[in-house]
Symmetry: C5
Subunit: 325 residues, 5 copies
Amino acid sequence: MQLSIIGYDPSGAWMRQAGTMEELLGYRSSGGITWINVNGLKDCGEALSRLSETYGVHPLTLEDILNTEHRPKVEEFDDYIFITFKLIKANSERRIEIEQVSIILTKDTVITFQESHGPFFEPIRRRILGNVGRIRKMGSDYLAYAIMDSVIDGYFVALDDIGTKIEDFEDRAILDNDASFIPDLQDMKQLLLKIRRIVWPLRENLSSLQRMETPLVNENLDPFLKDLYDNVLQAAETVETYRELLSGVLEVNMSAVSNRMNSVMKVLTIISTIFIPITFIVGVYGMNFSNMPELDYPYAYYVTWGVMFVIVIGMIVYFKRKKWI
Amino acid sequence: MQLSIIGYDPSGAWMRQAGTMEELLGYRSSGGITWINVNGLKDCGEALSRLSETYGVHPLTLEDILNTEHRPKVEEFDDYIFITFKLIKANSERRIEIEQVSIILTKDTVITFQESHGPFFEPIRRRILGNVGRIRKMGSDYLAYAIMDSVIDGYFVALDDIGTKIEDFEDRAILDNDASFIPDLQDMKQLLLKIRRIVWPLRENLSSLQRMETPLVNENLDPFLKDLYDNVLQAAETVETYRELLSGVLEVNMSAVSNRMNSVMKVLTIISTIFIPITFIVGVYGMNFSNMPELDYPYAYYVTWGVMFVIVIGMIVYFKRKKWI
Amino acid sequence: MQLSIIGYDPSGAWMRQAGTMEELLGYRSSGGITWINVNGLKDCGEALSRLSETYGVHPLTLEDILNTEHRPKVEEFDDYIFITFKLIKANSERRIEIEQVSIILTKDTVITFQESHGPFFEPIRRRILGNVGRIRKMGSDYLAYAIMDSVIDGYFVALDDIGTKIEDFEDRAILDNDASFIPDLQDMKQLLLKIRRIVWPLRENLSSLQRMETPLVNENLDPFLKDLYDNVLQAAETVETYRELLSGVLEVNMSAVSNRMNSVMKVLTIISTIFIPITFIVGVYGMNFSNMPELDYPYAYYVTWGVMFVIVIGMIVYFKRKKWI
Amino acid sequence: MQLSIIGYDPSGAWMRQAGTMEELLGYRSSGGITWINVNGLKDCGEALSRLSETYGVHPLTLEDILNTEHRPKVEEFDDYIFITFKLIKANSERRIEIEQVSIILTKDTVITFQESHGPFFEPIRRRILGNVGRIRKMGSDYLAYAIMDSVIDGYFVALDDIGTKIEDFEDRAILDNDASFIPDLQDMKQLLLKIRRIVWPLRENLSSLQRMETPLVNENLDPFLKDLYDNVLQAAETVETYRELLSGVLEVNMSAVSNRMNSVMKVLTIISTIFIPITFIVGVYGMNFSNMPELDYPYAYYVTWGVMFVIVIGMIVYFKRKKWI
Amino acid sequence: MQLSIIGYDPSGAWMRQAGTMEELLGYRSSGGITWINVNGLKDCGEALSRLSETYGVHPLTLEDILNTEHRPKVEEFDDYIFITFKLIKANSERRIEIEQVSIILTKDTVITFQESHGPFFEPIRRRILGNVGRIRKMGSDYLAYAIMDSVIDGYFVALDDIGTKIEDFEDRAILDNDASFIPDLQDMKQLLLKIRRIVWPLRENLSSLQRMETPLVNENLDPFLKDLYDNVLQAAETVETYRELLSGVLEVNMSAVSNRMNSVMKVLTIISTIFIPITFIVGVYGMNFSNMPELDYPYAYYVTWGVMFVIVIGMIVYFKRKKWI
């Protein structure tokens, strides 16, 4: 568990880190906006209960923060709005990982909870401390918006990556000499299902956040929330598009395999049907009957070759007509 | 049929079991919350009609309690709310079983009906008798919530188990040397359909329970009901995800089988097309015509081997170019 | 056309049959509830127009009664409610048949129309005449409910029968040595589509009947209507479940056939690839070239057997490694 | 372009045809209902603009009348209601053709536009001129209803025809020795998609027509409009049912083909696997090695036959056990 | 970046081009409608911020204009309506390209932004400058409508083109000797998914534009907006129809391939099963056993031919009966 606190108002900003929640809460100053960040949810029971007392957090909210399997939601309480949703990030081996982020938004404080350590919120911290953009001039609601916005921007990075992989799959579906094709495809499908379950509920919940009549969200935040909603909607539509593309890939693969098998079958059939009859003929004259008059005709051998040649030509013509060659 | 009665208020709790409803109803004390539990629905007609008179239960409610095929529902009557839904549990051989649970919630009494005997509600009993958590301080509505919550928690246990089996199926879909694969898959599909018909109607009904304006449900239960609703929604989404994964499994299996058959076909084709022509050649020189000049050429045998070698190499090169090998 | 009339009030009940509507209408007594039943819709134009005059029925209602292809509907008119829906019954050869039933419900009269003769309503008649249950104590609306209820109970009988057949199809899909499998499956699919078109519109219409604010339906009928609605909803969900199961059956069949074909192909491939090369070898030494030194080596025959043995073993090992055997 | 005008009131009716709109409009009489019909939309710009001036038609309405690709719609303007929808008819070679019909409904006039010449409205004309049914007693709204009703009745004729063809396709799917099967199926699919795009928007638009609060539609038309709506709904459901049936046909065909191929493959496999080994054996004893002791054993030939017989029987037993035969 | 400005009122119109926004804004005259067009979005940051100051554009609107991946939307601000949507056009190699168009609509000014240079709006410019139609008599809202209308007309051109290609695909699905078939099909599918994501959101947004109660849109524009909406709806339905047709194409292809493979397999099976047994027979009499009595019977050779003939005829009859030939 790592704890940090940032305080700011239009005229200035400061940041502190602390080992215990007790110490951290001591740093709070009156006036301005306070941002408390909790990194890592192991062994933070003590810290959470301290927070809970200080800010009047409902016990069910604490449960939701600790249950990292919770679906995204926005919930209004008397003194605060509770927002929980997911972070999508690529880990060091470029595999996609999903992590829960929770926000408690009060009138002058934002408390954020991250599942693991990681520098994801660093850019926002820099914007506050360096007074970049409008963030220092706005309220705690804008800070919560900025955090959500940076998380949702991360969705597009992940989705772009997936988009590239899907194009790759489409090529492999047609060529596919790789045994890992189908398992890889299944993994991708499951990943998209997971992301879908992250993005769709967020969409609904952002829509309900927009409609909430709460003093905690200033009305000049409206265009920003609308923009956020548009972004999540776009992410959701992208997920659906990808799912459609992916669901076609296996079908394409089967079709490609069928087509290839068909052409292989044709070659086998043609070779077989050409040689089987003439092989029979040469078998006939390999028989050892004492009385086989043809064997003694002087030109029988050449006639046999001629007959076989005619059969072969006849079959090739037949196959050409049937469009098999 | 097993009957038990629990009474409690913030200051104390007691529990009794009885052989007849008559006896059981005698144990009721005024004040506090009463929980009557009926285990097993066989031969309980007499007991039900006694209950019905005492608490003013509508005849249709009694019918619904006894009809164990009823879909989950929440229904408001003048003096009580009737809730019927399903329990999912693994039996002793780890097979999933579904059972009906019904709740009648009045102002100060909760009556529960279970289809069979089983210790499913034991933890709640212990919480009441041992005064764990807030349960003794809350009303009958919270007791009903606690019962529903423990049943819905059981859904996730069952779904986790199914999730593991689906991953197993995905592996079998690709390897599948097991003849039981398809029937097992069908069984799983049917089980998911069954669970779906349990979870989706419950979702709707919980949502209507939240909106009911009834004096029987205290408004401080709202966050708990919302939490319950979120859990059922998550279960419902999990079921849908599993159904999607499962519906892909057969497709994957067919694709894997097609791919494997394609590679088997290739080997057959290649072996056949290589050997068929040269087997024809050796057949030719096995003929017994008296006049076959080649037979007497001293190097004819070696030339034949050479020709066959050239044909084989030629075909291998051709197949390599066609990317069949 | 068969006509019958039943009159009842809490204190008594009587029943008469008649050849003409004229005669039948003469039997009506004032007070109590009257139930007129018309069995068979051929040649009943005259009777209908007499009824129409007596009870003020709209011409479009008469058209709907006679058009037996009409989709289920509930329609409110000034003086009556018109309900038309379908009866599902098994005929004498256990084949499922669908028939239209129409109900005209006025304040004190229920008029029912059945497409053919049949004892379907006999149990209700017995309940009235024998004063079983609450039917004699309730109004005409309860009679209409009782009729609808008995028809909808018939849906479950038909659906249970279909459920058994679907399980049968699932077994046949995997084994299928029966040429009638696919046509039977198609018939079942069409039957389910038909039933669906009976059940879904009824669901909507029952829901609108519940919401109707009409003096013709007493409010103490509400729980009964809700129960009816629940039953139709359950039938509708069962139909959807069956459709899903059935739509998977053909896929399962194709998958089973593919799998079987794959294993057959493997045997063919293995036998062929093992014997084709060694058959070539024996062909080589069947050639009649005068100069084939191997033929005269004393142990050549045994060496040839050895070589062939090595080839066969080599290929079996190769196939084992490739997991084809 | 053909122009005709009909005038009627309860006491009488007359009809005239004219070469120009100028002439036609001259025939109008005051009082009663007027029906102007325009057959053929080529070169009717002049006529339309005359109509437009006379009845105050919006320019966009004129555009919609001339754009024969327009989707069905009902639009309310200040002085009139504009309805445009499609006629489905079988042409002389029994192929289905789709044509646009537009209606302008004012208080006392109905103007209809048909894409081509054709006697489609003849029965309505006869009902007016012959005073059949209630048409002469009703207003212009009833005339518009009668026209729509006759068009929608035509949908059922077309759908019945399609239903018969689909049953035909289902039989062909299982037998299919006809190369035109798949292209015919595709044509049918496209036709259903076209009809769907005709019927569904009409359904919505009729529903909005029912809800319109306009003095142009008398409230005693309500049951007729509801009936019309029911018919369109039934047509729409029939289209969906047909689409489902059709979408299964190709699957059935593939399944039937797979099954047949499987049984063909089995025969090939059995014949091959039985003869390949014994053909190898006879090849062995066709070799010409000088030292092959078996060749000289007197009963070797009979022993060889015995061995081959045992092999064949062994394999047949094996196949029987594997249920391949 | 190319800048142009057009001013007009019912009595006259003028047009100017400029290198900088500064210069362009200088050309504005009071009175009448002004249309500012910005072609090309590279390096136009400076110009946008000048516009933003002059017309009070929200920073998020500027971001949306520059983000060319934005989904179509209509957004109302205090002083203007912001509309962003997509242009579909065929480039010089007849490939379809998608480009973003944004419109800012104020009371007397329309500002348009195009992603690249191109003469797409030329016809509208000519209508203004040449005073064609009603455009000079209407307000800025009609100009915005005219621009949207011309863009949406372009959708139909693109969709017609796609429709032709789909028909082409359906033919190729059945014949398909072209290896590019499946990749081409995938490209088309992706293009349709792209267009869908352009058309559907536009539909919703036009619907919300119709419902907006804003002084910026005059109510006499209502029929035009409704018409626009109808067109987009038609485009959306066309896209869905095309998607359905396309999704069937691969299935048709697989079915066609299966059918063809089936008939190829049959030929192979028939040839093989006819020749394999008789080839075995000739093999038998090619054996070199010293004691093979048949070899010396004078008519054995002819009898052998006879037996083989009977076998062949027998098998042909068998196949005919099984309907394999």
